[in-house]
């Protein structure tokens, strides 16, 4: 019996019991579509997390932060200078593996006001114009401050879209995009001119949701409410990034720091340094260079630490690995259940067809060709089910999104489809194995007598 004949016989057998075959396939259909849906959800999550990782500056970004002085240097605590702008100049000269470096002088408890509206930015920081590249900002309107603004310590600021939303009204509330360039706002009571505004950062999914809701009339009844800072997954990162306000470093120093430290002593210390490494593969030597330089400028006191995005990247990898594994196991279980269904039906169908098998053997079917016929039959059921499952999975993913909306759009990938189809075939072969063995071992004489 050649393979083509076996497939034709298998399809005929399936067609002869349409309803039974459909029920049998259902298990595989569900298994395959849940496998595809799981992988689509995980892929969506992965994309969202990677987007968020890029949004905070990518893997090459390293932050130098203050750290408690180690115990063996505790007696030198009053000598510690902390991070200052001198570190920047020293690093720019002496750490060639660092591509870019920006200071970060923050104003704690900073608030912006416009009229009777108040906005507390997540980050209100004095920095250099390079910060825009460092933190992957995009100026949508106006301009970033430049070196001249910094040199003159101009009272200018560049704001994220959340500041505009709070102080001037968001496009959703007002119905049109307000561009507050040239407006005066107060930062901790001092007047600043808004010279630029960043674009609105959001994940793909948020953008889609917003665009979908754009045309709907807004429900304007009742007081507005703030939803708080917390939020799930990637969108948190975007909300923080939207609530950034940049002013020039010198402006920060002169207006807020030169007389506002403890006991009104000027406080020249930076909140941190942001650095970009040439390439992620040079991270280790680059950090060593930075350490060497900083040990000099910090008088040998190790009061600094590095924060890289490696941890986050590792967490992302681990989270994706875990959800892929658990999702895969769940989907595999449903595929196995589908396989058991096929096996069950095949066993029943063989008992029904003992006489047929006897006839086939009497006229020359070898055990092997009986075996192949049953295997092919169960594999064809599984493959048809698998194919149907692939089609269903698209709808299944849509359904999942409707039932439980996530921050991330599920993405169905071609390898996932291939893999699921392959698995359905594998399940078919395995499920057919025992029934096929049973059929092949039937004694022709006994089978011919079977009623």
């Amino acid at each position: 019996m050649n393979f083509g004949d076996a497939i034709i016989v298998g399809i005929k057998e399936i067609w002869a019991h349409k309803f039974r075959s459909l029920l049998t396939m259902l298990g595989i259909i569900l298994g395959v579509s849940s496998l595809v849906a799981m992988s689509a959800l995980v892929k969506g999550m992965e994309n969202g997390l990677k987007e968020a990782l890029i949004a905070i500056g990518g893997l090459e970004k390293v932050r130098v932060e203050d750290q408690d002085i180690p115990a063996y240097q505790a007696h030198m605590a009053d000598q510690a200078v902390g991070s200052t702008v001198n570190d920047i100049y020293a690093l720019q000269q002496n750490a060639p593996l660092i591509r870019m470096i920006t200071p970060d002088m923050r104003l704690n408890r900073g608030y912006m006001t416009k009229g009777n509206k108040v906005f507390s930015p997540w980050v209100l920081t004095g920095t250099t114009p390079d910060a825009i590249e460092m933190n992957q900002h995009v100026v949508a309107y106006g301009r970033m401050f430049n070196q001249v603004d910094d040199d003159r310590a101009s009272a200018v600021c560049v704001i994220g879209s959340a500041a505009r939303d709070e102080l001037f009204g968001s496009p959703e509330d007002v119905g049109k995009e307000i561009i507050p360039i040239g407006e005066l706002v107060n930062i901790n009571g001092q007047p600043f001119t808004i010279i630029g505004m960043f674009q609105r950062y959001e994940s793909e999914q948020e953008r889609k949701v917003r665009e979908a809701e754009k045309d709907k009339p807004r429900d304007l009844t009742g007081p507005r409410r703030s939803r708080g800072w917390s939020g799930g997954g990637g969108s948190f990162v975007y909300r923080l990034k939207n609530s950034t306000v940049y002013i020039p470093l010198n402006t920060m120093w002169i207006r807020f720091r030169s007389a506002s430290g403890a006991n009104n002593i000027p406080d020249p210390r930076l909140s941190g340094l942001n650095m970009k490494v040439n390439g992620i593969e040079e991270l280790e030597p680059a950090l060593q260079q930075v350490r060497n330089v900083l040990m000099v400028t910090h008088k040998g006191i190790e009061d600094f630490s590095f924060r890289t995005q490696e941890d986050w990247a590792e967490q992302i990898t681990a989270a994706i690995h875990n959800s892929r594994l658990s999702g895969g196991i769940i989907a595999a279980i449903s595929l196995i259940v589908g396989g058991i269904g096929i096996m069950n039906i095949m066993l029943a169908s063989i008992t029904e067809r003992i006489r047929e098998i006897g006839i086939r053997k009497a006229i020359g079917a070898t055990n092997w060709s009986v075996f192949i016929q049953i295997i092919v039959e169960s594999t064809v059921i599984a493959l048809i089910g698998g194919l149907a499952g692939l089609v269903t999975s698209v709808g299944f993913v849509q359904l999942l999104v409707v039932i439980s909306p996530t921050d991330n759009t599920p993405v169905i990938t071609v390898p996932a489809l291939f893999l699921a189809f392959l698995f359905s075939g594998l399940v078919g072969v395995l499920a057919g194995l025992i029934p096929a063995l049973k059929a092949a071992r039937l004694d022709p004489i006994e089978s011919l007598r079977y009623e």
Binding site: M1, T366, N367, P444, L448
Partner: protein, 251 residues
């Protein structure tokens, strides 16, 4: 050398510690072109003998040579190929596959001998023509009468040009008129040179074949062989008024 040579064939079964001798030392030759019947009451061992002759079963003892192949030493795989190529079966209950149409039923043995496509169809149609059923090729077995179903089964048995056809009570499930027609068909096929063995319990059916082998208690109890009387093994056909093709090995 005869087509079938069995020497001292025994088949024993063990049933609850008791040994049952279904066949007890049968020695038998069948020449190509012979038309014979194996006759015996139920339980005599004739079915067991047919199963062994038909390569569905292997003897416990003794040797069996079919067309030069030592059957008692063959593997199950070889036995299947021999059943497919050298043996045709006709059963009492027709044993057609109900899901296939007449043509597909006749094509079935060729599926297992890898005869493909057009050749397969043409040979199946030729076999159906032999039993005058070529106009029923698209019917299901259930749409045919018993006699027609048996003729389809005969076409299926003949389609691979077997060396020998075994018919196990071929008229047992038919009324006497249709049964007679089927026996006529066998007789006609025999005159065309085919080797046919009828297995039956009914002496009146056995009487149409020139050679008759009676089995009783697993042994050959009586044998009527025209050759022993110095006659042609085709003797039976003289009475039917048909020509005598020389039997193989005799001329």
């Amino acid at each position: 050398m005869a087509l079938v040579e069995i020497r001292n064939v025994c088949k024993f079964y063990h049933l609850g510690g008791e040994e049952i001798r279904a066949l007890d030392g049968i020695t038998l030759d069948i020449e190509a072109g012979e038309f014979l019947s194996i006759i015996g009451p139920s339980g005599s061992g004739k079915s067991t003998l047919m199963h062994i002759l038909g390569c569905l079963d292997t003897p416990t003892q003794g040797s069996y040579q079919l067309d030069g192949v030592l059957i008692h030493e063959a593997s199950t795989r070889q036995l299947a190929a021999i059943r497919n190529q050298k043996i045709g079966f006709v059963f009492q209950f027709f044993n057609l596959l109900p899901k296939l149409n007449v043509l597909q039923n006749v094509e079935l043995p060729m599926i297992y001998s890898n005869v493909g496509g057009r050749d397969r169809r043409e040979r199946a149609m030729a076999a159906l023509k032999l039993v005058d059923l070529e106009n029923r090729s698209k019917h299901r077995p259930s749409q045919l009468s018993g006699g027609q179903q048996q003729r389809v089964a005969i076409a299926r048995a003949l389609v691979n040009q077997p060396k020998i056809v075994f018919a196990d009570e071929p008229t047992g499930n038919l009324d006497s008129n249709t049964g007679a027609a089927i026996l006529d068909l066998f007789r006609r096929l025999s005159t065309e040179g085919r080797t046919i063995a009828l297995v039956t319990h009914d002496p009146s059916i056995a009487s149409i074949t020139p050679r008759r082998i009676e089995i009783r208690d697993g042994k050959v109890s009586n044998e009527v062989d025209p050759r022993l009387a110095g006659l042609s093994p085709k003797f039976g056909h003289l009475t039917a008024g048909q020509g005598i093709p020389p039997a193989a090995g005799e001329a």
